[in-house]
């Protein structure tokens, strides 16, 4: 063994593994992008190939696969084999979940960590057990904790949505489901409170409100639509140039086939420069909150929105007003998208009769 091995423990030196014949990796003499493995990794994978060849499903394989996963969390064969061994040994999967708590945070962006978690929680040993509610709500809490570390992590969010739609949407958990969804909305409000620009949370809200069934108390969809529009308006007033809130507002309107023109009164103050005497004639209108003090006006999403309102009017006069707004975006407020705004003008004018 080379000198580097004094600090690392090799399977080759471990009598417990003496019955496994290590299997070296095949490699072509002139391969593409060969990896210069560490001795530790080479040793572990030699034994892993040996284990696979022998079909060994003993408890020690859990240690071996854990070691490989820690060295290379993307090693999907090790994950796959580990899961088979867990099932073969009838291992307590809740313990495996606790190990995953540590690995998930460590390898937050590795797909396999989340995939393995889905397999575990879906297994009847956990999801159909008497304590399934305990396990499932613990998952929701765990995800919330992960999102403190990385609030926009894609895997984490999609895992949460998968959990909610797979285990809390069928109605078989009755009152408990209601409670979970109620808490979900409160948690979303709090997350948006913390960072109004976190698009992932907005997305999650859309999922909860519109894409995952209808909650008790939300049966009147008209009320829900109004509530969501008001919510978006309120958040826009706090940070008028926040695209996440505007996209959400558009999403609610599009999804329900509501005309943008319903929002003209609200949008107008955001699409123009603040007039010096604005403070004086400001009337508090709860339905149409005005831009927060100090917000930079006009803001791009509002100009764009108002132009869309005009464009939907379809008369020559309307289209010309829309074109004026697009021009202001192209030449002054959003010059990076100059070519796009010019394209919008061209498209809109083309449909007008000559």
């Amino acid at each position: 063994m080379s000198a580097s091995s004094d600090s690392i423990e090799l399977y080759a030196d471990d009598p417990e593994w003496a019955d496994i014949e290590p299997v070296r990796q095949y490699e072509n003499p002139n391969p593409l992008a060969p990896i210069f493995y560490t001795e530790e990794y080479r040793d572990a994978t030699d034994y892993f190939r040996g284990v696979v060849k022998k079909g060994d499903m003993s408890p020690r394989v859990l240690d071996l696969t854990e070691k490989i996963i820690r060295l290379n969390p993307a090693h999907y064969s090790a994950w796959q084999y580990r899961y088979k061994v867990l099932l073969a040994l009838k291992s307590p999967l809740d313990l495996e979940l606790r190990l995953m708590d540590e690995l998930a945070v460590k390898f937050l962006k590795t797909y396999q960590v989340w995939h393995h978690r889905r397999l575990l929680i879906s297994h009847p040993q956990l999801s159909s057990s008497k304590s399934s509610s305990f396990y499932l709500t613990a998952e929701l809490r765990f995800i919330a904790k992960c999102l403190v570390v990385d609030s926009k992590n894609y895997h984490t969010w999609s895992y949460r949505q998968w959990l909610l739609s797979n285990f809390f949407s069928g109605g078989e958990r009755g009152k408990e489901e209601e409670e979970v969804w109620k808490k979900e909305m409160e948690w979303i409000e709090q997350m948006i409170e913390e960072d109004v620009r976190n698009n992932s949370v907005w997305h999650h809200r859309f999922f909860v409100v519109f894409q995952s069934g209808i909650r008790v108390g939300d049966e009147d969809r008209e009320v829900v639509r109004r509530r969501e529009i008001d919510f978006a308006k309120d958040k826009i007033s706090l940070a008028p140039s926040n695209p996440s809130a505007w996209n959400y507002l558009r999403g609610v309107l599009d999804n329900n086939n509501l005309p943008y023109s319903d929002l003209s009164i609200f949008v107008r103050p955001y699409a123009q420069a603040r007039s010096p005497d604005a403070e004086a004639d400001e009337v508090i209108d709860l339905e149409n909150p005005s831009p927060s003090k100090g917000a930079q006006l006009p803001c791009v999403p509002a100009i764009e929105f108002l132009a869309d309102v005009y464009e939907s009017g379809k008369s020559r006069d309307d289209i010309e007003k829309a074109a004026q707004l697009w021009k202001s975006l192209a030449n002054e407020y959003d010059t990076i998208r100059k070519k796009y705004w010019e394209y919008r003008i061209k498209e809109a004018l083309e449909v007008l009769p000559a």
């Binding site: 993307a74 999907y76 698009n199 997305h203 990076i336």
Partner: protein, 392 residues
């Protein structure tokens, strides 16, 4: 002087060097690449193809042995035939005729990148097991229309639908996929913003760059999911009762969302409110091309952003940064050292973006051959694949 004249040169020599160094070998800090080496190889070969340095800088002997290595990854067995990421699970004494084991199955993304890599190397594909590949596609399709990366896995999402559709296009044979089911799946992934998420209801577009290994992006994302959705919808033969890939209203909304992602730096971001990233210059730029509106973006700003992502010793990083003198293949690189080091994935996708959206400049270093936006390959390579891969 036009703005294009202010661009620094595209460091073609440096980028070639970066890719040839990666192909020659990777340090142990990149061990995670093990289970996706064929994808990495594709990004290296694709870069050399776009830079047109594959023939000049690589010997005939090397190109031949690379082909041989890629063919070694083609494996057959109970789920059909496909390509494995590498020989990382292959025993030393294995013989080519062995069937793969349950723990060393081919992978759908590797099958796509393997076939494309062979087309880059101008292979004649007489070793391709066509019926086996069709069988493999069937084994990977799930009841909801999506595809899994390996048979019987629950890992399934939009990028895998794209790979299956690209492979069917290469073969000019769609008998391995239920197109209508997949199209339904893709449409379910559409989000309220106008992009597409990995799976139904997920947030639009891909994920972020991992700190030091771009692998997570390369593999778990295969880039923008919106690109994967749009390219797949446009590759699919049109269905009798669903002639348009997108309704005019959807198209309008998606164009808006894509162009919103170009930020003031000139680069594109992958999700609303995130920072610009070189790879999204391709995922969004190619999507706009697919939707027939390539001219709505600003190519000079795009090139200026990518110019700043260039690493001084070659290669392109995900974002402009300090690049403190270390790159991806530097063996001294500690895993968490530099989130902005260059890698073949961002290098290839930046070049691909530039070949779709070339900046107007008299500097010829920026001139690249055209790219097939649906198959994500240099046009000549895509044409080769379409000609040589189908059964003759």
């Amino acid at each position: 002087m036009s703005q294009g004249e202010a661009l620094p040169p595209l460091a073609r020599g440096g980028h070639t060097l970066h890719c040839t160094r990666c192909v020659a070998g990777l340090p142990s800090s990149q061990t995670e690449i093990d289970s996706s080496r064929l994808a990495l190889a594709f990004y290296c070969l694709g870069s050399l193809d776009l830079l047109d340095t594959l023939n000049a800088k690589i010997s005939d002997a090397d190109r031949e042995s690379w082909k041989e290595w890629i063919w070694e990854q083609q494996a057959h067995g109970k789920y059909g035939t496909g390509f494995k990421p590498s020989s990382y699970m292959t025993p030393e004494d294995a013989s080519v005729n062995d069937e793969y084991s349950e723990n060393d199955t081919p992978h759908l993304i590797m099958t796509y990148t393997g076939m494309l890599s062979l087309a880059i190397l101008r292979d004649n594909f007489d070793k391709l097991d066509r019926p086996g590949i069709i069988k493999f596609l069937r084994s990977c399709q799930r009841s909801d229309g999506s595809f899994s990366s390996i048979p019987d896995s629950t890992e399934s999402d939009l990028r895998l639908v794209y790979c299956a559709f690209a492979i069917s296009t290469f073969l000019d044979d769609w008998s391995g996929v239920d197109i209508a089911k997949s199209v339904t799946f893709i449409k379910r992934c559409r989000t309220y913003e106008g992009g597409y998420g990995q799976e139904p209801c997920a947030e639009a577009q891909g994920r972020d760059c991992h700190l030091f290994v771009f692998l997570h992006e390369m593999l778990t994302v295969l880039g923008g999911t919106t690109y994967c959705a749009l390219a797949a919808l446009h590759l699919a033969p049109s269905l009798p009762n669903d002639p348009l890939p997108l309704t005019p209203r959807e198209r309008h909304q998606t164009v808006r969302w894509l162009i919103q992602n170009q930020d003031d730096s000139g680069g594109f971001r992958g999700r609303t409110g995130k920072d610009a990233d070189a790879c999204y210059c391709f995922w969004c730029g190619a999507s706009l091309q697919i939707l027939g509106v390539p001219d709505v973006l600003d190519p000079i700003a795009l090139a200026a952003f990518l110019a700043r992502c260039q690493f001084k010793y070659g290669g392109i990083a995900k974002a402009p940064g300090e690049h403190p003198g270390q790159d991806f293949v530097d063996t001294s690189l500690e895993p968490s050292a530099d989130p902005f080091s260059p890698d073949p994935y961002h290098t290839y996708l930046s070049l691909a973006a530039l070949s779709i959206h070339p900046p107007h400049t008299s500097d010829t270093t920026w001139k690249l051959d055209a790219l097939d936006p649906l198959l994500n390959a240099r046009s000549a390579t895509a044409a080769w694949a379409r000609e040589k891969i189908p059964a003759q």
